[in-house]
């Protein structure tokens, strides 16, 4: 049995705003958190395999990025500040059309590297060539929920279903249980009802949840209304989609009825504030969704519309954006923002039974944040300092599934230079620069 002890840290358990242990210790045995308590309270501290001295740091659950397209790191900065359709048709799609399975692998490796260095321990992904992403997750030690993106109106729509089934059979529950799979029909406007029927049949057969983009733009809402006479969420509900565990991404433009459906029936909603801002899609009614009891997590979306995978930045902007959108400074306070970025994100992906809290019985997905930097001084309020003032480089140490993946900012599972070299070279080729 592998025993890892973290001691000396302030523990932000995320079990509640006041569930903070000023100086405490966390014992992880074979990847499971088996004890959280005061200094010296963990039994058998003489026979630890590894001890992390974490004085001056905060231990909290790793961030959960519940919506991204990891391999789009290859497109970071390739197309910005453009109208949506020009962005997609002239830049994103032609570039993506040239991407190979190996490109996707290296893009995902870079994303994992960036996520680890900014404190993200778990992410939800939707893309093509998902075996490549799974390989990156397995090798880097990350945790991920993976979905093969499926476009029902594309010529290869049935192949995509087969690929999704193959992904699930090959990878669901693999990498020591760190990989889970959901089905990824892209969106109601790219997946007609008959295709969504096939997806639901497959979901029933494989007992999988469904990860889908919904109501991201006003154009989508208008198109769905015109085509089906209903709003997007209502349309999906009529088709029976919410009989399955659904993670709905974006949900920017919703009427009252849709808010209620999502709050009552969706497993979770992925709020992508910076992507929605940058693409000028709109502001998701997250404060309302939360008030109605919905589970809302936070996603960065891909780096073509962000342009990084920094969850601290994302949760901060996500909170501030809700305040200004509702003209209510009390909306999405600091603790709630951290909750969305940890346990609520895990719940959105059906992983709330294993990650998102520092609590006995959970898997050991824990980050240490160094709070001794000028921008977190003084410490009137630890939660506010992390949510509203910290930055990605303050994350010093990352533990996933009980394994130390980054220590003192050195990532132990990845050859950083090799990954950046591969991505630079491949990105230049794909962009036609060389």
């Amino acid at each position: 049995m592998k025993k890892l002890l973290i001691r000396g840290a302030t523990i932000l358990t995320m079990e509640g705003p006041d569930a903070i242990i000023d100086i405490g210790e966390i014992l992880i045995e074979d990847g499971w958190i088996t004890h959280v308590g005061l200094p010296g309270s963990a039994s058998g501290s003489f026979d630890m395999d590894e001890i992390i001295e974490a004085d001056g740091q905060v231990a909290m659950p790793g961030f959960v990025n519940c919506h991204t397209h990891a391999s789009m790191t290859l497109l970071r900065g390739y197309a910005d500040d453009l109208p949506l359709m020009q962005w997609l048709s002239e830049k994103i799609w032609p570039f993506e059309g040239k991407m190979t399975s190996e490109d996707i692998y290296w893009g995902a490796m870079l994303a994992c590297l960036e996520m680890i260095k900014s404190g993200t321990t778990c992410f939800g992904d939707m893309y093509d060539f998902m075996h490549s992403v799974a390989r990156a997750v397995e090798q880097t030690g990350m945790r991920a929920m993976l979905s093969r993106g499926m476009i029902g109106i594309a010529p290869n729509a049935d192949n995509a279903l087969a690929a999704a089934e193959d992904l699930a059979r090959t990878w669901n529950g693999k990498a020591d249980g760190r990989i889970t799979v959901m089905l990824g029909p892209h969106a109601p406007y790219t997946c007609p009802p008959e295709y969504l029927d096939k997806v639901m049949n497959l979901a029933a057969k494989l007992k999988l949840g469904i990860n889908i983009h919904v109501a991201e733009t006003l154009t989508e809402v208008a198109d769905i209304k015109k085509q089906y006479g209903q709003t997007p969420v209502k349309h999906l509900d009529s088709l029976g989609l919410f009989k399955f565990p659904v993670l709905a991404a974006h949900c920017v433009h919703l009427d009252e009825e849709e808010l209620e459906i999502l709050a009552q029936k969706a497993m979770g909603i992925a709020y992508n504030p910076q992507s929605n801002m940058k693409l000028a899609s709109g502001i998701a009614p997250v404060a309302k969704l939360i008030d109605l009891g919905a589970t809302v997590g936070i996603g960065t979306d891909g780096t073509a519309s962000n342009n990084n995978l920094d969850m601290l930045e994302e949760l901060r902007v996500g909170s501030f954006l809700q305040k200004v959108a509702t003209m209510n400074p009390e909306a999405v306070p600091a603790y709630r923002a951290l909750q969305m970025a940890t346990i609520d994100g895990a719940l959105c992906m059906g992983l709330g039974d294993r990650v998102g809290l520092i609590k006995e019985g959970m898997r050991g997905d824990i980050i240490l944040i160094d709070t001794r930097e000028p921008h977190m001084c003084p410490q009137h309020n630890l939660v506010a300092n992390i949510a509203y003032a910290a930055n990605a480089s303050d994350v010093s140490t990352v533990i996933i599934d009980g394994k130390v993946i980054m220590q003192d900012r050195l990532v132990l599972t990845i050859d950083e230079e090799r990954v950046m070299y591969e991505v630079r070279t491949r990105a230049a080729r794909l962009a036609g620069e060389k």
Copy 2:
């Protein structure tokens, strides 16, 4: 004569979107930039006093934070997620009421430390006990425009005018010219017309500009309309304020007439996106102001409403917020956001003749950003990578007025531990924690 050469860096001069030198060198002599060119083009490189090898880094003008209250670092995290009046009357004002001149000094020292570490070389400040802030600026090597905040309806209103005059006579043009002074009447709702008359008389006498908060909240707009029968900007214009060089902070709620007045008559507008979001004040019509030809800079505001002084975060959110507010992804593109955070901020404070560009004849306020981190890979677009993906800790080196203030993240002018110790101790006393 002191000669400093920076070589090997990619130079983002900010003289235009394409004014980038792939690998170049910058010569600084006695604080002046005297040469910007290709490798080996600076004359006399054999007799440099100091050479900075900047391979793999980007050299750009230091960030200009054109609106803050530096010493409010003491209040970071002290009061968050509260309605404005409760925030002010129950938390901010009582805390500030206890602050001494020495508290202000240490708060400003921490702010300077944080700003230097995040690449800000120049800031615009308004607060009380400004001699203390000036001392911090002088000692840390920063550049600043300082204003003594004046509340016309306060009992000490005339003392404030005297203090402002004293500040100007003591510090304007001092610290090797790094300190300039403007007058700081707080806002139209706290400074009645007869008081603003006195301010304008003083401005005329001392030949100073005026730094003022305007149209920050809907409450302010309603109050000014009720009291004076005009909107805030129109009211100030009627009083003749814009005959002076005016830096107007916030400008969130403006009608068409006010937009025109500001565009035609204000020296500059300080856009504070995160403060306006966090306090739920609203979204300033910055895209419109820019279209009308206004000069708009970026400010963080104080750390009680932000909660850090990170200009990279601020310019990014500032850009994204304009895109979503106008539903136009082309609004405030990456280069414009960087421009607002450098040369345009300098112009807003009357400093555009000396800082904000890397150009012969300007003072040497230059930062180096290390772009070799995973979150800036690949490099399809350098400007987008900095504006949309970089973070504060990527700033490796800071040069102000030709002097190296931070090298490889070591701040040479400040005892970091001492400053943080003083602020922690003083903040606890002021909060009544001990």
